[in-house]
């Protein structure tokens, strides 16, 4: 792992914490414990993202899913996951999670050598399953608050903290930094194909969320926040409020 990106990353941690700390949360505008003061702008971005999905992303995903057989698509997904492992290890280390760093380093070594460069996943068969992380989680571990809800162009639902995390992950990704063009676009290509594959495989679920709900913006926000908090190990959410005590 490149030491330089690690140093850059560590300095970003400080900046990220500062930025996240600046995000003010206004309880007046929160629904289900989500702060969303820029809801109007977010809704415009949501409408834009839906347009992109309808005219571009979903049709291309359909083409990809129909032309490329499932086993090949799965291999591409595994490869995309594989290329994110150096970034995961970097974040594990920044979180002072040595066990996680060893886990992901082991996955990377085994899947590179035995898994033919990451197209197969023998590590999971050995009981070492995928445990991804990101810089947003690193910021969370060091106490950065969630901030406000944000719907990003193309990337979709996020928060102030996770947007900072996403930018840092994109800019300092060890695979991108270590490789020269054109190899450095390998990761981006695998990433996009993986997203297309997911769009195809979960077509019914995503369509129902985006095009059949009464308010797809509110659904996406609620689902993203609940799932994200779960991933970060926050388990004391509204779901555990006793509904039998509601008046």
């Amino acid at each position: 792992m490149s030491r330089l990106t690690y140093i850059i990353r560590a300095s970003f941690l400080g900046v990220g914490l500062l930025l996240s700390a600046c995000a003010t949360v206004d309880p007046e505008v929160s629904t289900q414990g989500v702060s969303d003061p820029r809801e109007a702008e977010n809704r415009q971005m949501h409408a834009f993202n839906k347009d992109v999905d309808r005219v571009l992303f979903s049709p291309v995903a359909d083409g990809y899913g129909m032309i490329v057989p499932k086993p090949v698509r799965n291999s591409v997904s595994r490869f995309a996951d594989h290329l994110s492992l150096p970034n995961d290890v970097m974040n594990n280390l920044l979180q002072a999670d040595i066990g996680g760093a060893m886990h992901n380093t082991f996955r990377f070594a085994v899947n590179t050598i035995v898994g033919l460069g990451g197209f197969f996943d023998p590590a999971t068969a050995m009981g070492v399953q995928r445990a991804d992380t990101d810089f947003g989680e690193t910021l969370h571990k060091w106490g950065a608050p969630e901030g406000n809800y944000v719907e990003l162009p193309l990337f979709g639902p996020s928060t102030t903290r996770d947007t900072v995390g996403l930018v840092v992950d994109l800019v300092t990704d060890p695979v991108t930094v270590a490789l020269e063009a054109p190899e450095r676009y390998l990761g981006t290509g695998a990433y996009v194909l993986n997203k297309l594959g997911n769009r195809y495989d979960y077509d019914a679920t995503i369509d129902s969320l985006l095009y059949e709900s009464a308010d797809s913006y509110a659904q996406a926000r609620s689902i993203y926040i609940q799932n994200r908090r779960f991933d970060l190990g926050i388990t004391s959410g509204d779901a555990y409020a006793d509904p039998y005590l509601e008046p």
């Binding site: 289900q32 019914a204 709900s213 009464a214 308010d215 609620s222 609940q226 799932n227 555990y240 509904p243």
Partner: protein, 201 residues
């Protein structure tokens, strides 16, 4: 399989008697074992539906039966309606609850296709406040397993689940958001909501 079930029941029994001995003064009727037992039955029924591989409409009606039998539908429906439940008449609430049940069955029953060939296993139970959380793991073909938790209470008089939380996403909270949005669109008209719910999902 048979011996495994027996063993689990035996362990459940031991756990239950232990719990009773430890908490003699608590009025809490529901034990971890009972909560687990309920989810075991839900899971067994769901696994049966998945294995049968029936048509979509068969799966939907089978899912509705499971939902009506093991879930506390009135409390889920009421909670999804939120504060508006307070101004609804008892007739409106009854009609709404029944429409809600069909809506949930159609909306989530459709998803059962994706579960064909998959398997759900119950992993453990913990007590949260006055209810129990039963953790289960879902393994679908060619995917890494994901977590589904059932929240179980007996405040309705019988052990029933009142929420299903998939990777942190609560069915009850997501539906609260959705039903709230539907009601807003109908300017708070509950009768209109009930009428539209009958064909939604």
């Amino acid at each position: 399989m048979q011996s495994e079930t027996t063993r689990r029941m035996f362990l459940g029994g031991v756990a239950a008697s232990g719990l009773v001995a430890l908490t003699p003064a608590r009025a809490l009727a529901l034990s971890d074992a009972q909560a687990t037992q309920l989810v075991d039955r839900v899971v067994a029924d769901i696994n049966k539906v998945i294995a049968s591989g029936g048509s979509l409409s068969q799966m939907i009606s089978q899912f509705e039966r499971i939902f009506a039998r093991y879930a506390d539908v009135p409390i889920i429906a009421r909670s999804a309606l939120g504060v508006d439940a307070r101004r609804a008449s008892s007739g409106q609430l009854r009609a709404y609850t029944s429409a809600f049940q069909g809506y949930i069955a159609r909306k989530y029953g459709k998803r059962f296709e994706e579960f064909v060939g998959g398997e759900i296993t119950v992993q453990g139970t913990r007590q949260v406040k006055s209810f129990h959380e039963v953790r289960a793991s879902v393994k679908l073909r060619g995917q890494s397993p994901f977590q589904v938790n059932f929240l179980v209470s007996d405040k309705s008089g019988k052990p029933r689940f009142f929420d299903m939380i998939i990777e942190g996403i609560s069915l009850r909270l997501s539906e609260k958001e959705e039903i709230g949005a539907m009601l807003d669109r109908r300017k708070g008209n509950i009768d209109q909501l009930v009428a539209d719910l009958k064909s939604a999902g």
